[in-house]
């Protein structure tokens, strides 16, 4: 511990940490633009400057380490003026489009201008005019709103290992773009939306399908069915200014009915279904000498990633559709049949923590006979917006339950929302399938937590099982390279596109730091701890679905409805 003086007050700090981190703990908020939690500082924007006694110039707090006896002043005239100048310069060529901007009210740049009291334009720069990139089914880019902070580029390259975007050109004409300045849809972008989460402005946003969904809700000839993913109920409250970590499952179901959805289903149900199929597939691969390690297939960003960058590992990927697509397929088959409805009369909407799901539902394999299993995907953020649009106060809702037959879930399906959850759910069921007994204690601590790579080596009934869990495609690369180099102690790998899993998905509420993501995660495990049905194979509606409709896991009908295939793609060459 070392001691500093901040604005005349003495505070304690850890040796080696930056001024910014030390101040944050003290409740002193220093604005940042280019800084990214967990990555080395780039020091590009200088909005975070403070005055340090003895230093000739203002000091960027995000990159400068604390030192014993250091005297810091955080809000002197000089500091405030410097920050104002930076924001004024950033605004000098900005489109001033706040009213029509996807970030209105949630924009870091807007907030900075507001906080610093900037009320008029001082500098008149030449406005850059660059077309929006609306080519992607998931991500919209509006380069005119970009302030070139570089966070999206670092996210895409350093965390996600994709590098779909980079700085193009130089000087005043520099911008963020793809290779050959083409649409994101033909780039290597995996639609993860992590760049949206770190963008301080409206330059990046999800493609919204709210208009399509509200039109469907207003159409009396359509039955509009909605499913919500495991990680949505633990984050939606944040769209209503409630601190991260609250579960609003029941209120959300009520709100969805108020908005006019005819049926509300829980994607955690089809997560249970995924476990039944996937655990059976794993057992079969192990028994018949199939390709191992098997890799999970629920995260569509990862699927595009493997198709592009590791096509040789495609045979390792489970053929199971993702829970969203399994639910979609069941809605347009079993459910449609049960209701006596033509599938084309059903509009299937899903609420996802994810932007890549928007891409996934457009994949041709996901639309048998040209009828898509899922018609529209809304992110958690868009659901928040929809509820605000319809004047619904989530907090005022009384809890309601999801509809049968796809509304009941085990908590194993629920913990899919956190990195490690799919593996834990699968191990619970695999243990039962292999031994006829439940896994003692059920909880598998080594697979939990926000670490990017986790492993578990256990013996079940004399069978050695090596399981690995990675999240974030940069972490995935490390493990996949090991597998390509012949590592053979693993049978099953869970891969999630977003760091930490769906609780930190690209469609989740903005502005969440690591603590917020941890709070979301804790809530999922709390739900798991407190409920009775904690394994997928005990979900009685799953059993009924197999009895009444599907037959066996991996059976003929399962294969047609619940499994898919992948193919190598050369998007980077297009």
């Amino acid at each position: 511990m070392i001691t500093l003086e901040v604005d005349g007050r003495s505070i304690e700090a850890n040796a080696g940490e930056t001024i910014l981190t030390a101040l944050k703990r003290e409740g002193i908020h220093i604005p940042t633009l280019c800084y990214m939690e967990g990555l080395p500082p780039s020091g590009a924007c200088r909005i975070c400057v403070v005055e340090v006694d003895g230093a000739p110039n203002l000091t960027p707090s995000c990159s400068y380490p604390v030192a014993e006896g250091m005297k810091i002043r955080t809000s002197t005239q000089k500091v405030i003026e410097a920050r104002k100048t930076i924001v004024r310069l950033l605004l000098s060529n900005h489109p001033d489009d706040c009213l029509y901007c996807s970030r209105n009210g949630k924009c870091d740049l807007q907030k900075l201008a507001q906080d610093l009291g900037i009320r008029r334009r001082l500098y008149h720069g030449k406005k850059t005019s660059r077309p929006m990139d609306v080519s992607s089914p998931a991500i919209i880019r509006d380069p005119e709103k970009c302030i070139l902070c570089g966070r999206c580029v670092r996210m895409c390259e350093e965390i996600q290992g994709v590098s779909a975007i980079d700085f193009i050109g130089r000087g005043s004409r520099a911008f963020i773009g793809t290779a050959f300045d083409e649409g994101l849809n033909v780039s290597s972008c995996i639609n993860c939306g992590q760049c949206i989460l770190v963008c301080p402005t409206g330059a990046l946003s999800e493609r919204s399908y709210l208009n399509e969904v509200t039109a469907a809700l207003a159409d009396p000839d359509k039955m509009v069915v909605v499913q919500h993913a495991p990680a949505v109920s633990v984050t939606l409250a944040e769209e209503f200014d409630i601190k991260a970590g609250k579960d609003v499952d029941g209120q959300m179901v009520a709100a969805l009915r108020r908005v006019g959805f005819d049926r509300v289903f829980d994607t955690s149900f089809s997560a249970d279904l995924t476990i039944m199929e996937e655990a059976s597939e794993l057992a079969q691969r192990i028994k018949t000498g199939g390709v191992l390690p098997m890799m999970t297939s629920c995260s569509p960003g990862w699927i595009k990633f493997v198709e592009q960058f590791y096509p040789s590992l495609i045979p390792n990927v489970s053929t199971c559709k993702s829970p969203q697509q399994m639910m979609g397929a069941m809605i347009k088959s079993f459910f449609a049949e049960r209701e006596g409805l033509d599938p084309s009369k059903i509009v299937s909407v899903s609420i996802m923590p994810c932007t890549a799901k928007k891409f996934e539902c457009t994949r041709p394999e996901m639309a048998p006979n040209n009828i898509p299993d899922v018609d529209y995907v809304l992110t958690t953020r868009e659901l928040g917006q929809l509820l605000h649009m319809f004047g619904i106060d989530l907090n005022a809702m009384d809890e309601e339950e999801a509809d049968t037959p796809f509304g009941e879930r085990s908590t194993a399906g629920k913990i899919f929302g956190a990195s490690g959850g799919v593996m834990e759910a699968a191990v619970r069921t695999a243990h039962y399938l292999l031994t006829g007994k439940e896994l003692p204690g059920l909880e598998i601590q080594p697979l939990r937590g926000l670490k990017g790579a986790k492993e578990l080596h256990i013996e079940v009934d004399g069978l050695k099982i090596g399981a690995a869990v990675v999240s974030g495609m940069g972490n995935a690369r490390v493990l996949l390279d090991q597998v390509c180099d012949g590592r053979d102690d693993l049978q099953f790998i869970e891969i999630m596109t977003c760091p930490g899993g769906c609780i930190n998905g690209g469609g989740q509420p903005l502005g969440a730091d690591l603590d917020a993501v941890r709070a979301r995660m804790k809530m999922l495990y709390k739900i798991d701890r407190e409920e009775d049905v904690r394994v997928s194979h005990k979900n009685k509606w799953i059993t009924r679905l197999y009895d009444e409709f599907l037959g066996q896991p991996l059976g003929e009908l399962s294969h047609r409805l619940l499994h898919t295939h992948y193919s190598k793609r050369d998007d980077l060459l297009q």
Binding site: E157, D166, A179, F180, S188, L572, L573
Partner: protein
């Protein structure tokens, strides 16, 4: 896809790191006249660099083209001397006549337009170079005429 020209260049740089990027791109451009998607992807595989990064670096320098040269490659000088003598208007005319921006090539691959800084012929300013041939003291009108001539030439070629 195999391309011996590119293969030879990459062979010369086997085991090379990122600092070889610029020399490789220069040699590829010298060989092919421009950097195509395919060549950028090949170079990317060779150096283990993503295509976006290569494109980013290549656009940082002014020397790289991303479209094949047209049959008539028109270079307008924007150096100081030429600028003073009105090369800006000449360039505007070229862009209007050809419906191209600098760095682009027409769909029919007939024309490509490029801008350079000083061709070392300042006495002749403003200077335009077409397929290696210098045109001196070019006015917008004169350039329009030259472009028309190129087009007519093509028509007669096509008929003959």
């Amino acid at each position: 896809m195999t391309d011996t020209g590119i293969d030879l260049i990459l062979e010369k740089h086997s085991g090379a790191g990122r600092d070889a990027l610029i020399p490789i791109l220069q040699q590829v451009q010298a060989e092919k006249g421009y950097l195509s998607r395919e060549t950028v992807a090949r170079v990317g595989k060779h150096l283990n660099l993503p295509a976006s990064k290569i494109y980013g670096v290549a656009t940082f320098y002014n020397q790289f083209r991303f479209h094949p040269l047209g049959k008539y490659h028109i270079t307008v000088c924007r150096g100081t001397a030429c600028h003073v003598k009105g090369s800006g208007k000449v360039l505007d005319m070229a862009m209007k006549q050809l419906k191209l921006k600098p760095g682009q090539t027409s769909r029919d691959r007939m024309f490509s337009l490029e801008v350079v800084a000083c061709m070392g012929a300042c006495g002749l300013a403003p200077v335009v170079n077409i397929n290696g041939e210098f045109h001196a003291k070019v006015t917008p009108q004169k350039l329009a005429m030259i472009i028309d001539q190129c087009r007519e030439e093509e028509l007669t070629n096509a008929e003959g």
